[in-house]
Amino acid sequence: MEWKRKHLLGLEELSKQEIQLILETATSFKEVSFRDIKKVPALRGKTVVTLFFEASTRTRVSFELAAKRLSADTLNIAINTSSTSKGETLLDTAKNIEAMNVDAMVVRHGLSGSPFILAQGLNCSVINAGDGCREHPTQALLDMFTLKEKFGHLEGLKIALVGDILHSRVARSNIWGLTKLGAQVTVCGPATLMPRGIEQMGVGVDYDLKRVLKNSDAVIALRLQKERQEAKFLPSLREYSRLFGINQDKLSEGSSNLIVMHPGPTNRGVELSAEVADGKQSVILEQVTNGVAVRMAVLYLVLGTKEEVVI
């Protein structure tokens, strides 16, 4: 298996083998972050720009550290746009930055599909750090990496995604990745936040959280944006938490080996109770650690490719 892609836009277009290669490469990279000197020279002289049109600390910092540990130079650009209709500035902005000879651009944008616009319009590598409601591939990869570390395999694992499926790019990327690697995915959340036709992505739908927890090896709780309640998708956050928040009581329905994941940042008391978030079944901080290794692998693979461009 050779890596031949210049961009990472999503997991939808990746093959099972490509996803496995990223996860295996990440395994090799994980060790680097535990050295005294947390740096290898693989991307010396390369410039990686993070271009974020949406606020994010965790993902941006993770990418930045990953690039730095590979000896790349990094530059972070945050552009404040509250409106998603500001797409006209996207390619222009990116082209201006690229003109300073950058090698990779890590982009987060509120528009679904925006990485495609960039990949078509730019010469540098484009890495999707989240586009609208579509994909957040590195988050799903780090989730899968963490699951693989915990269980040794993904094939046959029963994974539940809980929360706002409709607006979740983390959910979509995880569905693509996990199903390709043979896991069984169930989505669970309020019916008003369950997108139409989701079962056609190869997942089960269940609205009963307790039953879902009982039947899962791992649960990935999704972040609930407070705006969703303002947009009337939910009667109240309290009601959401009552039905879909994971607390110790509900968690005890499942196996004691069930692990709890969350892409962060967590709304404590909404998606997860503090007890669960900090409890022994939670692997949230390991996810963060693994995020750096996965992003190192992605940067290394994408920037190392000299062959044909696969978009």
Binding site: E2, S28, E31, P41, A42, L70, Y300, G304, K306
Partner: protein
């Protein structure tokens, strides 16, 4: 025509001799072996075993993947596969013997040296190779050599080891 330079028995004897040379030169005090992926690892393991047979001591052993330190990363086509580096002892103040199969341009050794330095500050680093085929491009020499094989640049030295290749050990020189 491929030419067989070493067979299973020769390789066994060579490893035995190299183990003695390593011990002769500095004893076992602070000694550690680090194999360079892929075949250097198998050779280092054999040396470790040979040393244990002679001295009765388990010496520390590590695995080094030098991919990330290669100086040709931007030149190769598809991205080379990165495998795990595993050095779970502190190399500082140790006498490290790096082990590789074929010593050629010296670039792999250069990468390995850089990688090692990132892990700590050994007292000394030495180099053990099964085959030295010449054509150095860097000012690096080996301390322990299994066999010197004069080759031309357009020849290829193929090392086959049971552990990595699933075939009987041999070293073959063939034209590219």
């Amino acid at each position: 025509m491929p030419q067989k330079i070493m067979d299973h028995e020769t390789i066994r004897r060579v490893i035995q001799r190299m183990a003695h040379e390593i011990l002769e030169k500095g004893g076992v005090e602070g000694l550690a072996l680090i194999g360079i992926r892929t075949r250097g690892v198998a050779l280092a393991e054999r040396l470790k075993k040979a040393i244990k047979n002679i001295e009765g001591i388990e010496i520390p052993f590590g695995v080094l993947d030098i991919t990330l330190y290669r100086d040709d990363l931007t030149l190769v086509g598809a991205t080379p596969l990165v495998r795990q580096t595993k050095i779970d002892f502190d190399i500082t103040d140790k006498r490290i013997v790096l082990v590789d199969d074929v010593f050629f341009s010296g670039r792999t050794t250069r990468a390995a040296l850089d990688a090692l330095i990132d892990f700590g500050r050994p007292a000394k680093i030495e180099l053990a190779v099964l085959v030295d085929r010449g054509h150095r491009e860097l000012p690096i020499r080996a301390d322990f050599v299994g066999k010197n094989i004069p080759t031309s640049k357009n020849q290829k030295v193929k090392v086959v080891l049971g552990e990595t290749d699933g075939q009987q050990d041999e070293v073959v020189v063939e034209d590219k």
